[in-house]
């Protein structure tokens, strides 16, 4: 009995023994196929097997942090957004990859991508693509994108009827709203002298925060653009159905819009009244390496294959994401989508990647949904309370 058991267990063990790289990914559809094709060519070239495991986006961070030290997580994750990097690095899961990166590779990257994946002066992933929200308009309804706030408002209000909408987006979501905060002079974390972010300098409150909050509230209650009940799904659905003229959304949605047969244009939003230029949060997605991986060299080689400029171009063809390699970008410069989003990415700021950012999202989103909940909400009080909760959270009280 026991001999058979041993034999059986040994047979089971052999499967794991061969050189293998496991990859977790949240890609789906054509992007997943692209990844599988890359894995196949890597296997042919090196003989190392690549196993691709689909994990939902929202689960990756927790599962990776919990599983990495236990040997239960993949060698690579393709991809994580850079704002997770601080937390994942501080909790021991991520390997600094600066030692694997070549000078050529680093100098080819957009500076914002490098900044995004650097935490405490170390590089924690190979950036792959960048994204930001931008004004996406339906060319059937909007001939040329509005340049000023007044033009924008007139256009948006013209289309806001019972059956069509002028401008919708997920109004309660801080990620989409950062552009307005920036326009009014607010920021999340100030910078330290050495270029790193300073978690004790929180810039979301004060006069700038009040103005941004008031403006977001006005979008619903004064300008009457975005009614209650509109969330991401509603705005996206209305745009796909062709009844929405303009939406604030990112490159991830373009595949669906293409499928729906829409002719779209991409432009930055105008500056809000009394504010400076609008500029969105820039998110950079990149490949990270498990610090506890037993196969780091093979894994990083596969990762390097995925971020080569030609791979980034084919990835852009598959899913429409915006590459961070300047070489790839210059080859794609005639693509209107890449051009449109490159413009807004250049206007924006990278999301903070320090772990303290985790203490910001919850109270910030909460404050925004409180502000837009009622026409008589007290913006100042809500923003003040938000700042207080964030500061307490960061101090660890």
């Amino acid at each position: 009995m026991k001999r058979y058991l041993v034999l059986f267990l040994m047979l089971a063990g052999f499967a794991f023994a061969a050189g293998k790289v496991t990859v977790w990914t949240h890609f789906g559809g054509p992007e997943l196929e692209w990844l599988k094709a890359q894995a196949a060519s890597f296997e042919r070239a090196t003989g190392t097997k690549v196993e691709i495991v689909e994990v939902p986006f929202g689960d990756i961070k927790q599962k990776f942090i919990l599983g990495a030290p236990q040997g239960e997580a993949a060698d690579l994750v393709v991809t994580v957004p850079h704002d997770w990097v601080g937390e994942m690095a501080a909790s021991g899961a991520l390997e600094p990859v600066g030692k694997f990166a070549t000078k050529d590779y680093l100098s080819d990257l957009m500076p914002v991508a490098l900044e995004a994946f650097s935490y405490q002066g170390k590089l924690f992933g190979l950036p792959m693509n960048a994204e930001s929200v931008a004004l996406i308009y339906n060319k059937k309804l909007v001939k040329s994108p509005p340049k000023t706030w007044d033009e924008f408002l007139a256009l948006a209000q013209k289309y806001t009827t019972g059956d069509t909408f002028g401008f919708l987006y997920d109004l309660g979501n801080p990620y989409f709203n950062y552009g307005w905060f920036k326009a009014y002079g607010a920021y999340v974390f100030g910078k330290r002298a050495d270029g790193g972010l300073n978690p004790s300098d929180l810039g979301l409150g004060g006069e700038a925060g009040y103005k941004a909050g008031q403006f977001i509230k006005d979008l619903r209650y004064k300008y009457g653009l975005i009614p209650e009940g509109v969330d991401y799904g509603v705005a996206d659905g209305a745009f796909k159905d062709g009844v929405l003229a303009m939406i604030l959304n990112g490159p991830w949605a373009l595949g669906d819009y293409k499928k729906a047969g829409l002719d779209i244009g991409i432009a930055p939003l105008p500056a809000p009244p009394g504010g400076k230029a609008w500029g969105p949060f820039v998110g950079v997605q990149g490949i990270v390496l498990n610090a506890y991986s037993k196969n780091k060299v093979a894994a990083i080689n596969f990762a390097k294959l995925l971020v080569r400029p030609d791979a980034q171009i084919s990835f852009n063809r598959a899913g429409g994401r915006i590459p961070v390699s300047q070489g790839a970008l210059s080859q794609l410069k005639d693509d209107p989508v890449v051009k449109g989003f490159s413009t807004t990415i250049a206007m924006g700021d990278p999301m903070p990647n320090i772990p303290e950012m985790g203490k910001v999202w919850g109270p910030w989103g909460n404050a925004l949904s409180l502000i837009i909940q009622k026409p008589d909400s007290d913006v100042k009080k809500i923003i003040d309370q938000m700042v207080e909760e964030i500061q307490k959270g960061i101090q660890g009280e």
Binding site: K2, L5, V6, L9, M10, G13, F14, F16, A17, Q62, I65, P69, G86, E87, A89, A90, S91, G92, A93, L94, E95, P96, Y119, Q120, G121, K122, F124, P227, E228, G229, V230, V234, A291, P355, G358, K359, W361, G362, P363, G365, N366, A367, S369, L370, Q373, K381, I382, Q385, E389, G393, G396, E397
Partner: protein
């Protein structure tokens, strides 16, 4: 037959013998596991046998030990019946509770998880006894919290190995370790330790009581109470209506009406989210046809509570209806016959027979339903996610959050930032409250009294 040694002594002896048996089986199992591991491990299979083999070997060892024990202590066989359930309960319920209690007194969280901070990676130039020479100033590149890094825990990595070590002190770019590593480390990392914080998590809960615990607890009680009341009322009415044997199609109605109980909640609750959208949901469109202005079902803190209760009524009334029918079927027909002979009207026999006889089976149903709804995580989490936002609350405890969803969000969702320690403390508070409610429950029904024979 056999006799148990009486009293507390008997109990302790039995538990002691069982414990010894398990311990012995575990030791033998461990040995067998170790032997198997040695046999199976080879260059091609460095992992050896999976660790659960230990469970199998221990279980195999336990059987003969138990048989042997039963020869000497026959009365122990009574305990063998309980052993499987007890072992499972110990492993998958008691052990998690113990760990939760432990975590509740620590600051364990995503950032204090006892793992090395990779941002503190520092290259080791060379090793000299207990001293590591680093390629940068130790204190800043390891980002030590204590002055001169004393007592900080570090991880040393190199030659395919990783070990934890403690720093005695740091001088410039030199680290003096508590014990010398037996290999050449290439990198050193400072560990983000978690530590015992005493009652800090509980202090946080009670210091912020007005922003979380009190409103959440009050709503939790109201929610559970109103859910039980509303479902019981509708279920009772329907049960009584459908119990009428002269009503044609009553089985068809019953079969149709249990649909909301039969379908998985993860489906139906998410569908309700769509139906209850203020501008685009079908419910408000239906109400629009009736001349009612759109209701902010899930957007207004108060309306969201109403929505939760309504959806829970939809989900829960079939159970109450079924329970009523079951209880009514236990009332013998003869009682009604006798009442009719005595000239009672149907209303009178309903008042005097049906209702009083429903009381006895219904009270435990109501109480267990209360206990169930008190921790009814799914409906809150899937319908509103605890929202909408409510002023002056913690961002993990919003308008419709109940205790369990608050704890879950604190420990496992982005809003709470993986504050496992705090989440564990909240779980203990929930545990205490649930036990309290159940004690009242048992006192009410006297359920445990008769067991105490």
């Amino acid at each position: 037959m056999y006799k148990h040694p009486p009293g507390l002594r008997g109990f302790l002896v039995a538990i002691g013998l069982l414990g010894a048996a398990i311990l012995a089986a575990f030791s033998i199992g461990l040995f067998a596991y170790w032997a198997l591991e040695r046999l199976a491990t080879s260059a091609s299979n460095p992992e050896g046998v999976p660790n659960y083999t230990l469970l199998i070997t221990s279980a195999l060892a336990l059987i003969p030990i138990l048989i042997l024990l039963a020869r000497r202590y026959a009365y122990l066989t009574d305990w063998y019946y309980l052993l499987p359930a007890m072992l499972f309960l110990l492993a998958f319920t008691v052990y998690p509770i113990v760990l939760t209690v432990y975590l509740a007194f620590t600051n364990y969280s995503g950032l204090h998880n006892g793992k090395p901070d990779r941002a503190s990676e520092t290259r080791v130039v060379r090793l000299a006894g207990r001293t590591l020479v680093l390629d940068g100033p130790a204190e800043t590149s390891l980002r030590c919290r204590n002055p001169s890094c004393s007592e900080e825990l570090v991880e040393l990595v190199g030659e395919g190995r990783r070990v934890y070590d403690r720093i005695e002190r740091a001088e410039e770019n030199r680290l003096v370790l508590a014990r010398a590593p037996d290999f050449e480390p290439r990198y050193v990392y400072r560990v983000n330790t978690f530590s015992y914080v005493g009652l800090k998590n509980f202090v946080f809960i009670f210091a912020n009581a007005s922003r979380a615990l009190i409103p959440v607890f009050l709503w939790n009680v109201v929610f559970a109470f109103a859910s039980v009341l509303s479902t019981a009322l509708l279920g009772l009415i329907l049960g009584i209506v459908l119990n009428n044997r002269r009503l044609p199609l009553r089985n068809t109605y019953r079969t149709l009406l249990v649909i909301s109980w039969a379908l998985p909640g993860v489906i139906t609750i998410q569908m309700w989210v769509a139906l209850l959208n203020k501008q685009f949901g079908a419910i408000n469109r239906l109400l629009g046809l009736l001349g009612v202005y759109p209701i902010p079902w899930l957007l207004d803190p108060l309306w969201a509570k109403v929505s939760v209760l309504l959806v829970n009524l939809w989900l829960g009334f079939p159970y109450m209806m079924t329970a009523t029918l079951g209880a009514l079927s236990t009332i013998p027909d003869e009682l009604y016959e006798a009442a009719r002979v005595d000239g009672a009207s149907s209303w009178q026999s309903f008042r005097r027979i049906t209702l009083p006889l429903l009381r006895a089976p219904f009270i435990p149903i109501l109480l267990s339903s209360f206990a169930y709804n008190f921790n009814n995580f799914n409906i809150i989490y899937l319908l509103t996610g605890g929202g909408p936002s409510s002023e002056g609350r913690l961002s993990t405890a919003q308008a419709t959050d109940i205790l369990i969803s608050w704890a879950y969000k604190t420990a496992f969702r982005a809003e709470g930032q993986s504050a496992y320690g705090l989440g564990a403390a909240i779980s203990l508070v929930i545990f205490a409250i649930t036990v309290g409610i159940s004690l009242v429950n048992f006192k009410f029904t006297g359920a445990l009294k008769e067991e105490r024979k």
